[in-house]
């Protein structure tokens, strides 16, 4: 099995890739499963009317953020778009606080005032949660500017979609990042579609990983459906940025199983396409098979993990339904910092 071979390479420590022990491998599995179950629950709560507005699920893309986060260090920063639940969970934000924000309650990360697309946690280096396609890219570049300024050794993981990659501000950012040697890793989460428009219909032909070439930014395509491939494939890029050599661009190929947000008629792709990705490339199944085959865990352990994760998500959903709505006086607070 190809995945197995590649994974071995990862654990045998190809350039910059950490070798992973059994605990770490199990943690990857747990993190991906947590995102999957959390998102399924969020979809359910949306259907019940407990979550409103837009709600963009990360199901199918779990390996991207979990793999990349395995390469992060404390002090690094992360920024992304509205499809942000997975990033928050991967960086260790509390599922309760995330879910309660989805339901618009006081216990949420933004005290109910941000919603699904807008949450932040400086403590873990998560800087949002941004609703305007592409806008997080200069923001992430600015976070990198601050890392360099403070000489803190950190870097900014700046995630963007395959649709966002055509926004002009992305290229303005590339230019500054390259010009000033900023420690920023641009990660295209290429899930093949921006809403109902496929990459082929939105982007001039060419390799998205080379979109930074004109600025001298190195780029690489990565299989984002296998978490070990993500870790192995991205390690070199993270090294490059961390070594102070400037920005790097990754085109991580992934897939979203669900609609763009909750209301998506899904006419732009076939059911067979989705079913095939689920059956053949599911990131959680792939890791599970691999870990079972290698004896990292057995079926019993797997059941325990499933149960633990379900409990965490169940608790989050409970909390999110019982945390009260914000006090009406909250309407008027947080507009400006009171001097």
């Amino acid at each position: 099995m190809a995945a197995t071979r590649r994974a071995r390479a990862a654990s045998s420590g190809s350039k910059g890739a950490p070798s992973l022990d059994a605990d770490q491998l199990e943690q990857l599995y747990r993190d991906m499963l947590l995102i999957r179950r959390f998102e399924e629950k969020a979809g359910q709560l949306y259907g019940m009317g407990l979550i409103g507005g837009f709600c963009h699920l990360y199901i199918g893309q779990e390996a991207v953020v979990v793999g990349l986060h395995a390469l992060a260090r404390p002090g690094d920063s992360i920024i992304t778009s509205y499809r942000d639940h997975g990033h928050m969970l991967a960086t260790g934000m509390d599922p309760k606080g995330v879910m309660a924000e989805l339901t618009g309650r006081i216990g949420g990360y933004s005290r109910g005032k941000g919603g699904s697309m807008h949450m932040f946690s400086r403590e873990v280096g998560f800087y949002g949660g941004h609703g305007i396609v592409g806008a997080q890219v200069p923001l992430g570049t600015g976070l990198a500017f601050a890392h360099k300024y403070h000489e803190d050794g950190g870097l900014c993981f700046t995630y963007l979609g395959d649709g966002a990659v055509n926004q002009g501000q992305v290229y303005e950012s590339f230019n500054m990042a390259a010009l000033w040697g900023l420690p920023v890793l641009y990660v295209i989460e290429n899930n093949k579609y921006g809403m109902g428009t496929s990459v082929e219909r939105a982007s001039a032909p060419g390799d998205l990983s080379q979109r930074g070439a004109a600025y001298g930014i190195p780029g690489k395509a990565i299989n984002g459906m296998n978490v070990l491939d993500v870790i192995e494939g991205c390690a070199e890029a993270v090294e490059h940025v961390r070594a102070g050599k400037g920005p790097y661009l990754l085109d991580v190929k992934t897939y979203r199983y669900r609609g763009h947000s909750m209301s998506d008629p899904a006419k732009y792709r076939t059911k067979e396409e989705v079913a095939r990705m689920r059956a053949e490339s599911d990131p959680i199944d792939q890791l599970k098979q691999r870990l079972l085959t290698d004896g990292v865990f057995d079926e019993a352990r797997l059941k325990d993990i499933d149960r633990d994760v379900k409990a965490v998500v169940g608790e989050a959903a409970e909390f999110a339904q019982h945390s009260p709505e914000p006090d009406p006086a909250e309407l008027w607070t947080d507009v400006l910092v009171e001097a």
Binding site: E40, G43, Q44, Y46, G47, M48, G49, L50, I51, G52, G53, F54, E101, T103, G104, R105, S110, G112, K113, G114, G115, S116, M117, H118, H130, G131, I132, V133, G134, G163, A164, N166, Q167, G168, G194, M195, G196, T197, R201, A202, S203, G259, M262, S263, D264, P265, A266, K267, Y268, Q321, H322, S323, P324, E325, P326, P328, E330, L331, W332, V335
Partner: protein, 475 residues
């Protein structure tokens, strides 16, 4: 306890839908992820997947039922170990749950909803059917005897289709406008009729395609540029203002820019601060632009057609919540409304209420309440924000001597601020009370349902303001 399967909410603004078709029959086994039924919202037909496993015990809402409310029980799922004997009680519970749903409690399947804080849905806007009927139009508004019931969405589509048939130079461009038929389904059927030369899907590059549209207008075309929502027009505002609005002036009148920028503006429902903003006062500020904000489907059709024919850049501020509401639209071949002319939707001599877009409906609702208390409000639908029909406003204020303005946007330098100033300058001696504004709260839009409801003008707040300028307290 068998689990009721509830009508799902499938979009931010969905309140009811059609149960198009069941894909499972009573008695069928159900796995999580199986498609149970197809549900039609006003935007799309979507598959409804099971979240629990079990056996479909009873179907409560049959194929083809329209107007099924979100959260109403549509079937009963029997889970492991339960048989049909559990059904009767469950059906009864589900049906009483329905009336609970109607009174605002969300029944959570398999989970008693007791102790839950007020449901987020409380803040969702009034259902489509609640759009109040305006009175007979003012004398100077022509009366159209033949009309057809249409949604705002259909009226906008028809306006574009008619103008595209009429003028080869008109084309539509924007994100998801062609194959997807509009993110909010406004361009339904246009790609099929006009082809991909004239209905153009763009990448997500607002700055780029707004500028490209302006260039195309310079080159002799008549672009309709759709912003998926006006929130994203901020990416492109430099071209709307610097390139489109100012060119005629900078060219000493030698070259202008006939272009339409259109899309939904203002708050939808629960989409948070970056996606809920009213741009009325932003664009109305700019000389060289025209700005319209339709309320009814007739407004939408007549004003959009006028905008497309206009030789100037016109910003058309639509509203997502109105898209699904229906109104009478004149059938006349060449029904076009003049830009710059307001419409008196309801006559009265007690107080003038001026509103635009969705707030016209809110103002009419308030007028009903006030009427029951003996205050007859005159409700003016501005339709156009630049130019502003100050004559109609002043005429009304000179009659009622009191004015309340209503807008979703922020108060500072808003449309109401402008109207108040005009009235002070030109009808100061007629005023019996200070002009009062009802506006969106001066904060970014909060996501929480209860806070969002507090942030937007309501009929109650409008009625309260009207009483205040009449020096009356609630009857």
């Amino acid at each position: 306890m068998p689990t009721p399967i509830l009508m799902p909410a499938l979009s931010p603004t969905m309140e009811e839908g059609t149960l198009a078709r069941w894909l499972k029959k009573e008695g069928d086994a159900v796995e999580a992820g199986d498609v149970l039924a197809e549900i039609e919202t006003d935007k799309a037909t979507m598959e409804y997947e099971a979240v629990d496993e079990g056996r479909l015990g009873k179907i409560l809402v049959s194929d083809g039922t329209e107007g099924v409310k979100v959260n109403q029980a549509i079937a009963i799922l029997l889970t492991e170990g339960e048989d049909d004997s559990a059904l009767d009680a469950a059906v009864q519970a589900a049906q009483s749950g329905e009336s609970a749903g109607a009174s605002g409690v969300i029944p959570a399947p398999g989970d008693a909803p007791t102790g839950q804080s007020p449901p987020p849905q409380a803040a969702t806007p009034p259902p489509a059917a609640a759009a109040p009927e305006p009175d007979a139009p003012e004398d100077d508004e022509p009366v159209y005897d033949k009309t057809r019931r249409q949604s705002v969405r259909e009226a906008l589509r028809d306006a574009m289709a008619e103008e595209m048939r009429r003028d080869e130079a008109v084309f539509l461009m924007g994100e998801e406008v062609a194959q997807y038929e509009g993110a909010y389904k406004v361009s339904q059927g246009l790609l099929a009729e006009f082809g991909d030369k004239r209905v153009v899907d763009t990448p997500i590059t607002e700055m780029g395609f707004a500028g490209l549209g302006v260039g195309a207008a310079f080159g002799g075309l008549r672009p309709i540029v759709e912003f998926m929502t006006f929130n994203f027009s901020m990416q492109a505002i430099d071209h709307v203002i610097n390139s489109a609005a100012k060119t005629l002036y900078m060219a000493g009148g030698k070259m202008g820019c006939p272009i339409v920028f259109r899309g939904p503006n203002g708050a939808a429902a629960r989409v948070g601060a970056q996606h809920s903003q009213c741009y009325a006062s932003w664009y109305a500020h700019v000389p060289g632009l025209k700005v319209v904000a339709p309320w009814s489907a007739a407004d939408a059709k007549g004003l959009l057609k006028a905008a497309i024919r206009d030789p100037n850049p016109v910003v058309v501020l639509e509203n997502e919540i109105l898209y699904g509401q229906t109104f009478d639209v004149p059938e006349a071949e060449d029904f076009v409304l003049p830009i710059g002319k307001a419409k008196v939707e309801r006559k009265g001599d007690g107080v003038t209420i001026v509103a635009f877009s969705r707030m016209v409906g809110v103002a009419l609702e308030a007028a009903k309440t006030l009427s029951a208390e003996g205050i007859e409000a005159e409700v003016i639908n501005l339709r156009s924000l630049r130019p502003l029909d100050t004559a109609t406003i002043l005429r009304s204020v000179r009659k009622t001597n009191r004015l309340v303005t209503v807008e979703e946007g922020w108060p500072v330098a808003g449309i109401g601020a402008e109207i108040g100033q005009v009235v002070m300058e030109q009808a100061f001696d007629w005023l019996d009370a200070p002009v009062t504004r009802v506006t969106g709260a001066d904060v970014p839009m909060p996501y929480a349902a209860n806070l969002e409801a507090l942030a937007l003008p309501t009929a109650d707040r409008v009625a309260e303001a009207a009483r205040a300028v009449c020096y009356r307290s609630q009857a």
